[in-house]
Amino acid sequence: MSSPVIVDRVTKRFAGHTAVDTLSLTVPSGIIYGLLGPNGAGKTTTLRMIMDIYEPDSGTVRLFDQVGGGRTHSARIGYLPEERGLYPKMRVLDVLVFLAEAKGVPRRVAREQSISWLDRLGLADWRLRKVSDLSKGMQQKVQFISTILHDPDLVILDEPFSGLDPVNSQVLRDTVLEYRRRGKTVLFSTHIMEHAEKLCDRLCIIARGKKLIDGTLAEVKSTHGGKHVIVAFDGSQGSAQQIFADRRLVAKIQDFGQQAELELAAGADAQEILRALVTSGARLARFELASPSLHKIFVDLVGPDAATAVATGGNGGAHA
């Protein structure tokens, strides 16, 4: 199987710190690949090196099994940067045509595709309006059209869901899934594990510029974390806190209030916890033996500091 993206031991340093440190990753064809990491992990820098926006200090990027990064192959790649922007004073249709032409798409094709996509996303009446006249949600759609209107073989999305309204989030998810169905490749970065868990076939978690783990979702889950239990309460929690604090039963806990994710201590039996909870008077909505969530694995891997960063959200990782 060919690999649309091969990143081979790339390193990028900025004044004073190393943003990406001998990172290698391979994205196989026809899948959705997630690049995960906390803010400042080097996700954006990595994608920018793939896109030829930054030159790596060392290491190489190969796209479609050929030397050269995103610029060489711009007509085959759709790139949605983390910080989005359009020309506010240009007409919607003109922006789309120009951005496609800049990628090397012939003008006529760019025009046809732009019109057809604007129709499809309900922006047909807006194509001669200025970008600045559009609502934020509409601008997101235009930006999204500009990423994919040339029907790229590889789509690279940097934090695609950040700032999207629910409708556009759904449009994006549908399109990503449709792309995979058609045998195309999607590489996206995110620090929100729920998105990754729902979409990714393969993933790679990085922190401080270094790779921590990569593989298929199942591989990552099986190599990391032991037996997990998800507990959800329905009203009274009984003396759940004492039971969870018992280190003979529970090794680690992620407490979300009405729900908790437990990692069992070695040799502990989940049934024993269930029995103790019921006896203590807790009312349970859910008690499930599960593989660890990606979020749990992520927090385990990158450490509590990074976990705080994830919880506070925001978009980081852009270094200048």
């Binding site: 920018r48 610029r71 910080e83 922007g85 003109d94 951005l99």
Partner: protein, 419 residues
């Protein structure tokens, strides 16, 4: 190359679509039409001046003055005999605007050549007319006093001198007058300065726009930064060229319509015929265009770098100052250049690449520049363009992706070295 073409096209179309392009495209010809109308109005001439001739002579000299002035189109003269309160009452009439002014002549005039004219508005035209009429009369009277036949005097004076001015420039003699040549050089210098500054700043704000809207990231992933900068500079240059064409064509059109315009304004059509554009030889136009192009490339590369190293309008305004000052040097030298285009000062300015885009066309137009000097100036400018563009494109390449504080001089040097 197709990608660069897309950038050029976008830059051109978006600029030409703005209000400001058309405002200045129309303002140019309007200004030009204004000048034509002004000239025609002038030829219609201010209204005829009503003046009184206060005659304190004891012979018929005062009457002769009135007769001499009667031939003038500009002046209607009435004789008033001198009296005790005449000057006071005439002064009052002038103040009440019933009279434009009065001329006082006495017996002494043919001897001393002195007369007096008092008016509320000492218009140059009227004074010249009075002087001309009086001196003709005085010469006539003096000659007749020595016994010369009046008919001979009239015959001798009935001759007008026309001085045909020719300019010798680069081995050719042209009929360009000194005034025209000065005017052409001056107008060119101003035009060059304005165009380079305005369109250079356009390049800067266009770079800045892409930076602040963050669209730059998508662009740089599709095009090499140099391609982007090239497209921008060429696009903005094409807009200014287009502007020049609009101005040139409308100037030609207005000139060809000068007779109908004059008729419309009720002026003498034959007078309007006399209004022409200064004749500009093709070589001059070629030099002008070549140095405009060179100057524009040189400065807009610098302006592009300024835009790239700034992250907002205020920063850019500050950072552009050194570049603007560099251009101001030529602007401030325009008068010096046009007054003495062959001075060492002018020669130096026409060789230094940062001033030559303005200085060389001025010197060339004034006709004081050898072809070897022109070639040297062009070569130096060409070298400077290559060098400056090389440095600017490196600053541009790093700068466009930077956000946050403006780089220091030291950082800029590092960008140039490592980019």
């Amino acid at each position: 190359m197709r990608k660069v073409w897309a950038v050029i096209r976008r830059e051109f179309v978006e600029r030409v679509r703005t209000k400001w392009f058309w405002v200045s495209a129309i303002l140019g010809p309007v200004l030009f039409a204004g000048i034509i109308v002004f000239q025609i109005m002038q030829s219609i001439g201010g209204a005829v001046r009503n003046i009184a001739v206060v005659d304190s002579t004891t012979n018929d000299f005062g009457t002769q003055v009135v007769e001499a002035l009667a031939t003038s189109r500009l002046i209607r003269a009435t004789r008033v005999p001198a009296g005790p309160h005449v000057v006071d009452s005439l002064t009052r009439l002038v103040e009440q605007k019933e009279l434009n002014g009065f001329l006082i002549v006495s017996n002494a005039l043919p001897e001393t050549g002195k007369a007096e004219y008092r008016a509320s508005n000492l218009s140059l035209q009227t004074i010249e007319e009075l002087q001309r009429a009086l001196s003709r009369l005085v010469v006539k009277v003096r000659l007749e006093g020595k016994g010369v036949n009046p008919a001979v005097v009239d015959w001798a004076q009935d001759m007008r001198i026309t001085l045909d001015q020719k300019k010798i420039a680069r081995g050719k003699t042209t009929s360009e007058s000194a005034g025209q040549s000065f005017f052409t050089a001056y107008a060119m210098a101003i035009l060059l300065f304005m165009a380079i500054l305005l369109y250079g700043v356009n390049v800067m704000s266009s770079v800045l726009e892409e930076k602040t809207t963050r669209i730059i990231e998508v662009l740089v992933s599709s095009l090499r930064p140099f391609q982007l900068m090239l497209g921008k500079v060429v696009g903005a240059g094409a807009v200014s060229f287009f502007q020049f064409v609009i101005w040139g064509v409308s100037a030609r059109l207005l000139i060809s319509l000068r007779v109908p315009i004059a008729r419309f304004l009720g002026a003498d059509a034959s007078q309007a015929q006399g209004i022409t554009l200064p004749h500009i030889p093709f070589a001059t136009i070629a030099v002008f265009m070549a140095f405009f192009l060179g100057g524009f490339l040189l400065y807009s590369a610098m302006f592009a770098a300024v835009g790239a190293m700034s992250s907002n309008e205020q920063e850019a305004r500050q950072a552009q100052q050194p570049v603007t000052y560099l251009l101001m040097i030529s602007y401030l030298s325009i008068i010096g250049l046009t007054n003495d285009p062959s001075s060492t000062f002018a020669k130096t300015l026409s060789l230094v690449p940062f001033t030559s885009p303005i200085a060389t066309p001025v010197r060339w137009t004034a006709g004081s520049m050898a072809t070897t000097e022109l070639v040297a100036s062009l070569v130096l400018l060409g070298l400077a363009i290559v060098g400056v563009t090389w440095v600017a494109s490196r600053i541009y390449r790093v700068g466009i992706l930077m956000t946050g504080k403006r780089p220091t001089m030291k950082e800029l040097v590092r960008w140039v070295r490592t980019a």
